[in-house]
């Protein structure tokens, strides 16, 4: 499938953490042609299995890409001069500095379009007049009367940001929820890559829920699926305004393969080997402690799971103009596919044995 179309389908579907049913349906339709089974688990994660060709019981590789996005939730319905407005709270790590004057959709009894609004700074209390707008200042304006709002919206309704995916120069695109639909797209590319290529291992592709709030789907799907190994796919910082140090990576420069305590050294190496086999340009991203991704949850399910982490460089994270290069999305998909093709029956034994071999010095 055309990568722009794929990303467009994925990013323009609303799925704040905790309300992933709709995106799960979209992904189900995308993955159905490529996998042997699909199901939704107890917390809403989508589990797709593509069987390998080795005799059963086969080792299983779990790919985790979260399908939820940051959003808002209605906290209060308030009236002013007969009109209805909504006070909200955040769902996940919303960057509150930039949500003023964004377009939103309120998922009430029906979907309602609205905008994020506030009184101007000079009408706010003095101590707040030079600060970014806070949730106590912001309201959603639906342009409707209180009666119309009350008929359609209640406390606890989800709100998503609304911004179509747009083409920038070259193969760059910009929109909302590329964190982490870019990775869901990469897993889709991976499943496509595996069509007609032989692989021994089962692939368990999981679109996880509630990553932005608590890595919920990673913990629970890894527990339930008991994979032999796992890879989390998430976005990472792209080099750009204000992000130019070693923790940021060129858009279009290839995916990152991450290293650090959340990653098994054997998985890091296997991903590097796959990149070498494809002659793909990749970068190493370091996480000295917490990786802030599903890898954190996957790694410590049950007795522990050898876990790898792949990143897609993305600018302006957690805004409505997140930007990626589509080449990186495609490369990430091929990298995962190549990793899977190369996995053999001895893989786990080999990386485990390496844990007890002295380093050459």
């Amino acid at each position: 499938m055309d990568t722009f179309k794929l990303l467009q389908t994925l990013t323009e579907t609303a799925a704040p953490s905790g309300r992933e049913q709709q995106i799960a349906q979209v992904i189900t339709e995308l993955w159905e042609p490529y996998v042997d089974s699909l199901s939704i688990d107890r917390v809403g994660s989508l589990i797709a299995v593509k069987n390998g060709r080795a005799p059963a019981p086969r080792p299983r590789l779990l790919l985790a890409a979260h399908m939820d996005e940051i959003g808002l939730m209605v906290r209060q319905v308030v009236e002013h001069a007969g009109n209805g407005f909504l006070r909200v709270t955040n769902v996940g790590g919303v960057d509150i500095r930039q949500i003023y004057a964004q377009l939103v959709t309120v998922h009430g009894r029906k979907d309602l379009h609205g905008v994020m609004a506030s009184l101007p700074p000079h009408m706010l209390p003095d101590e707040r007049s030079d600060k970014p707008f806070g949730y106590e200042d912001l309201v959603i304006d639906l342009g409707l009367s209180m009666a119309e709002v009350q008929a359609n919206v209640s406390v606890g309704d989800f709100v998503s940001f609304r911004q179509p995916l747009r083409k920038l120069q070259g193969k760059r695109v910009s929109g909302k929820a590329l964190d982490n639909r870019a990775s869901v797209a990469a897993v889709t590319v991976c499943l496509e890559y595996l069509q007609g290529r032989a692989h021994d291992w089962d692939v368990v592709a999981v679109a996880t829920v509630q990553e932005e709030t608590r890595l919920l789907g990673a913990y629970t799907s890894a527990f339930a699926q008991r994979p032999s190994a796992a890879v989390a796919i998430d976005v990472t910082f792209g080099k750009g305004p204000g992000a130019n140090d070693e923790n940021a990576f060129e858009l279009g420069g290839g995916p990152t393969i991450d290293i650090g305590p959340n990653v098994h050294p054997g998985m890091y190496q296997a991903l590097q080997d796959a990149a070498d086999a494809l002659e793909m340009s990749v970068n190493t991203a370091t996480h000295a402690r917490y990786s802030g991704t599903d890898a954190f949850g996957l790694q410590i399910a049950r007795e522990g799971i050898p876990t790898g982490l792949v990143g897609i460089p993305l600018r302006y994270m957690h805004t409505m103009v997140e930007s990626v290069d589509m080449k990186d999305v495609e490369r990430t998909g091929r990298l995962l596919g190549e990793l899977i093709v190369r996995l053999d029956a001895k893989f786990i034994d080999t990386i485990t044995a390496a844990m007890m071999e002295a380093d050459k010095s």
């Binding site: 905790g18 939730m73 906290r75 769902v91 406390v155 709030t213 919920l216």
Partner: protein
């Protein structure tokens, strides 16, 4: 029911030290449960077997309360202490606490230069009447709970530890009133909620329920200059949609609303900005649990005058009975 509430709220049971609470609750439920057990961390679990065709449902109400623990005894016999759970320093002056051995202490503070500030716990001490470490009747590591008599004034019920003994009362009353259910229902009276929802975690790991419902208090927005929040005392059971630790299972929220509407039980929808409940633990246990929470609206949470409304308590019990007595389709 006020008699049961009084008995539970006045009892001693800081997190980690809930043995006495178990002894109080067990006789209340023995006649109504098919089985009762205590797990490794001390959760008390009462099972009501279903008539068949239902799900495995875990109900969690925590027995523990916030408290304090001695960290140091000064040369003059005063006790420095740390918090067990979310103790608020500005509620402490003049409070009384009781240790497991019955010793009572009063809380005061060092001389405070700036009274406009809220001072950290390290500025406070407990006086148990000792004059040195040698004649001090308690030691480093001993835990104490707050003491305050239960007050019932009209519909308003005030006490320390209403969080979450009132949830325990809702669970006990539900167990008593629930004649038949298709579900296997596990009423877990949990430990160590106030220190990080720990008891519910191991109970849920062990029980592996399909559905988990916590019973706990929530904040209200109906007092002067409160943080805006669409929850008021007396307006009914609160069905949690989100708090700062979890987002409730959407299907379970929908079901709770439907049951409340069908049985004409008053309810409110809750979006809480601070705090979380045992539902947070149940949700992420094992392969995941469809988790939600029925909250009892409560003013002045984590003070010694936590206040709830008797009608809300009744609504919570009725709602839980309705949910459990009927099929659960998520």
């Amino acid at each position: 029911m006020n008699e049961l509430i009084k008995k539970l709220v006045e009892a001693y049971g800081p997190s980690g030290f809930e043995d006495g609470m178990r002894d109080l609750i067990r006789p209340e439920i023995e006649a109504y449960a098919d089985e009762i057990s205590v797990d490794a961390l001390g959760n008390l679990i009462a099972v009501k077997k279903g008539s068949g065709g239902g799900l495995k449902v875990m109900i969690a109400a925590h027995m523990d309360e916030i408290g304090v623990m001695v960290t140091h005894i000064t040369q003059d016999g005063f006790l420095r202490f740390t918090n067990i759970g979310g103790v608020l320093p500005h509620n402490l002056m003049g409070s009384r606490v009781q240790f497991a051995n019955g010793v009572i202490g009063v809380i005061s503070s060092d001389r405070l230069e700036d009274r406009s500030k809220i001072h950290p716990l390290t500025k406070f001490f407990i006086d148990v009447g000792a004059s040195s470490p040698d004649d001090c009747p308690v030691g480093v590591g001993d835990a104490a709970g707050f003491i305050r008599p239960f007050l019932a004034q009209g519909k308003r019920l005030t006490a320390k530890a209403m969080d979450d003994r009132i949830g325990c009362v809702v669970a006990i009353e539900t167990l008593k009133r629930l004649k038949t259910t298709p579900h296997d229902v596990y009423f877990a009276f949990t430990v160590q909620e106030e220190v990080g929802v720990r008891g519910a975690m191991t109970a849920a790991n062990h029980l592996d329920p399909d559905v988990g419902i916590a019973l706990d208090v929530t904040l209200t927005g109906d007092v002067p200059e409160a943080r805006p929040m669409a929850i008021s005392l007396g307006q009914g059971a609160a069905i949690k949609v989100k708090d700062s630790g979890m987002i409730a299972h959407a299907g379970l929220v929908r079901l709770m609303k439907q049951r409340a509407e069908a049985a004409q039980i008053s309810y409110q929808l809750e979006v809480l900005d601070g705090g979380s409940t045992d539902a947070r633990s149940m949700q992420i246990a094992n392969g995941g649990t469809a988790a939600g929470c029925i909250s009892i609206p409560c003013r002045y949470v984590h003070s010694q005058s936590e206040t709830v409304d008797a009608d809300d308590v009744e609504s919570c019990i009725k709602l839980l009975v309705e949910i459990l007595a009927n099929p659960i389709n998520l």
